[in-house]
């Protein structure tokens, strides 16, 4: 057999390979073909269903679905149904960008992603495509076409500092992760302490989110004898830090980020729950008695009961922000008659909009709409969250 004939099958196989690759793509393309345009308003939801962000993202998906059901049951928006297109960013900024690129042109507005890294990553894209993005993470400074959910990290930190100051605690320690949300939290905490006369940050340290041990950082902080400690870390990182407290013998009140306002997290750490563990939280976590306005009491009741009925558990951080996000975006689309670009202007004009997280008043400069007044301090206990003080309550 000559060399040339032996090579032919290889060439044939190369052709087949290219065709095969094309066929695989074509098939997957068909499968992912979007539903026909029926005039419904389409909201794209990007929430982390996998990866570290899924602690929040799973609840966000449920909250968004609850809001869409409620809107559609009440007759939709401008007589049209609202449809939710969902995607998982796997807690990764680059995946978030890819998912947004996939959504552009198919959705009228975007809600999500879940965490600040992915939110920052898609900001430029949302701006270029002129699509409103209601990001579900509090950890960014929203502008352009981007909004940011819940209270600003700075407001959380200020409320916390004020809470402690009112109780005679002035010397604080700070431990934060080196990831985006930890860096943001640390910066805000430092600012908040600097702005409050008499308060002092006596020691601070950082650690990587996947660290197995933070005892060396903690003992450095313990050296400075703080009266209270802020741990700005989520998930495993916060768990490792709380566990380390006992190992270095630091027995002081501890506060952490609202990213840990999840029942799953509290369940994980219940054996070494610092006493007390304080978390600055928006009003969906306060006791009903803290709401002065009966309209808001109704709103909270509908939301909490609806969620418990659907999932058999109380909603935590994720569902609330997504619930409000979908309702806010739908309201903007209602006012803009479904025009995605105009929705931005309309969203900026929404004021005194009651949500479950807080009462929103946006403006051209304020794409968050909540203030320090929407934040109170709750205490995490093994059976849930208890109102501890602060807020306008």
């Amino acid at each position: 057999m000559s060399a040339t004939t032996a090579r032919r099958p290889a060439l044939l196989a190369r052709h087949l390979g290219l065709l095969g690759a094309a066929a695989v793509l074509a098939l997957s393309g068909c499968a992912a073909q979007s539903a026909a345009d029926d005039g419904a308003y389409t909201i794209g939801l990007i929430a982390s269903q996998t990866g570290p962000g899924s602690q929040l993202g799973v609840g966000e998906l449920r909250g968004a679905q609850l809001a869409v059901q409620a809107i559609n049951r009440a007759g939709g928006v401008n007589g049209k149904q609202v449809r939710l297109v969902t995607a998982d960013d796997q807690s990764s900024p680059s995946q978030a960008v890819l998912q947004v690129r996939k959504m552009l042109g198919r959705v009228d507005a975007i809600v999500g992603p879940s965490t600040s890294g992915p939110c920052k990553a898609i900001a430029a894209l949302a701006g270029s495509a002129k699509v409103v993005d209601y990001c579900l993470s509090p950890g960014l400074k929203p502008a352009g076409y981007q909004w940011s959910a819940s209270a600003a990290t700075k407001d959380l930190a200020s409320q916390l500092v004020a809470y402690w100051k009112a109780r005679g605690i002035t010397r604080l320690g700070l431990l934060s992760t080196t990831d985006a949300s930890g860096a943001d939290g640390a910066e805000s905490a430092k600012e908040a302490v600097a702005e409050e006369p008499g308060m002092k940050l006596v020691g601070s340290a950082t650690f990587t989110p996947d660290a197995v041990s933070v005892t060396s950082q903690l003992s450095r902080i313990a050296q400075a004898r703080p009266q209270a400690l802020i741990v700005w870390a989520t998930g495993a990182g916060a768990g490792v830090a709380f566990k380390g407290l006992g190992q270095v013998g630091l027995d002081v009140p501890v506060a952490t980020t609202d990213g840990n306002l999840t029942y799953d997290f509290i369940k994980r750490i219940k054996a070494f729950l610092p006493d007390p563990l304080l978390i600055p939280a928006t009003r969906d976590f306060w006791a009903p008695s803290a709401y002065s306005d009966p309209k808001i009491r109704d709103l909270e009741a509908t939301y909490h009961q609806g969620y418990v009925a659907a999932h058999g558990e109380q909603p935590d951080f994720g569902p609330g922000v997504a619930y409000d996000g979908v309702r806010l975006v739908a309201e903007a689309l209602r006012r803009s008659q479904g025009d995605p670009v105009m929705a931005r202007t309309e969203l900026e004009h929404i004021t005194d909009f009651p949500g479950v997280v807080g009462t929103y008043s946006f403006s051209g400069d304020d794409h968050r709409g909540l203030t320090e007044k929407d934040v109170a301090i709750v205490k995490a206990t093994t059976h849930g969250f208890e109102y501890a003080g602060g807020g306008e309550g």
Binding site: G29, P93, K120
Partner: protein
């Protein structure tokens, strides 16, 4: 050590390719490019997947001479991607360089840096080189969060411009894809020529038995350094284009896991052809897209696929297909010859 064993049991290394097949290869290239041009119209909803596959194809194809010919596994591709990505952000935003110039200069810089590192690392035997490059990947991951003045730390570099060719902004998925097709085709052409050139055969000889190659007067480390530099150039370009496409670059793009997955793409697809890395990139990037529920299974499946491929198809999936077709063809033609003889 079992250095006597051939690293590539299938296909004798550096098989000379006859002049006769050159038109065929040209035809094949034309067909491939025609398919690539048609793809955005065939699968308009999968464009972001296609672009990602294109970017990782660029990062993997440059690795094939090093892995496939020289038998050296580099886990350090993320370092060069980081140089290309963060560098592109820095040069275009802080120094206002044109995007294309920045990408090219960074690619050249990465190539030179690879020569420097290669001079040290490539003297190491076998997988000690892989371990040293794994060190580079770990250092890259740490630096990308720690060197805040350059990388903006963990939250990443925001607002990187799109690629501009003259006054045309390459923004849409389709435009990005076509740019990648052109670059991918050039990289494929260069590596496939290299494979069939004297350098390629020298590399293969080095990969098979460096001592014997040394006796033949082949300077192992020089050829390997060239291959390492090529991998760095394409990885840097891939990083720059990724940054221009995402308009963003962050530590999560260049984690150790990504470094592993680039090598997994090459290994799964096969490191000795132009198409292997394409299959690998498609499989590894496409798997998570299969479905929401599937994405939890993806790491396990990817791991098992790599184990199975390494064990049973050492030439990669594409190599296995090619060998399968080739041996079937041989059997058929032998059968035909036998029948002819019997008549």
């Amino acid at each position: 050590m079992t250095s006597a064993r051939l690293p590539m049991p299938v296909e004798s290394a550096g098989r000379p390719t006859g002049v006769r097949t050159r038109p065929a290869r040209l035809l094949l290239g034309v067909v491939g490019i025609a398919i690539a041009i048609a793809l955005p119209y065939l699968v308009p909803t999968q464009m972001s997947l296609l672009v990602t596959v294109g970017i990782f194809y660029l990062a993997t194809i440059g690795l094939t001479p090093l892995i496939g010919q020289a038998g050296q596994v580099s886990l350090g591709q993320t370092m060069f991607m980081a140089i290309g990505g963060y560098g592109a952000g820095f040069l275009t935003m802080d120094w206002h360089w044109p995007t294309a110039v920045a990408a090219l200069v960074l690619a050249a810089f990465s190539g030179l840096l690879a020569l420097v590192f290669g001079a040290g690392f490539l003297r190491l035997r076998g997988y000690y080189f892989a371990l040293a490059t794994l060190g580079l990947a770990v250092a890259t991951a740490s630096l990308s969060t720690a060197w805040i003045s350059l990388t903006d730390g963990p939250s990443g570099l925001v607002g990187i411009p799109s690629l501009h060719l003259g006054s045309y902004a390459v923004f849409s998925d389709q435009a990005n894809f076509y740019v990648l097709v052109v670059l991918g085709a050039i990289a494929a052409w260069i590596t496939s020529n290299l494979r069939n050139s004297q350098t390629g055969r020298a590399l293969a000889a080095v990969g098979n038995d460096s001592v014997a190659a040394g006796m033949l007067g082949i300077r192992a480390s020089r050829y390997k350094a060239t291959a390492f530099a090529i991998s760095a150039v394409t990885a840097s370009l891939a990083g720059s284009l990724y940054a221009f496409y995402l308009r963003f670059f962050s530590p999560d793009v260049v984690t150790v896991t990504v470094a592993f997955s680039i090598v997994i793409m090459v290994a799964v697809g096969g490191s000795r052809s132009v198409i292997g890395p394409l299959i690998g990139a498609l499989v590894i990037q496409g798997l998570p897209q299969v479905g929401q529920t599937f994405s939890n299974w993806e790491p396990l499946v990817a791991g098992l696929v790599l184990i199975a491929v390494m064990t049973y198809f050492p030439a990669g999936l594409w190599g296995a297909v090619r060998d399968g077709v080739a041996s079937a063809w041989r059997r058929v033609s032998r059968h035909a010859v036998a029948q002819g003889a019997g008549r």
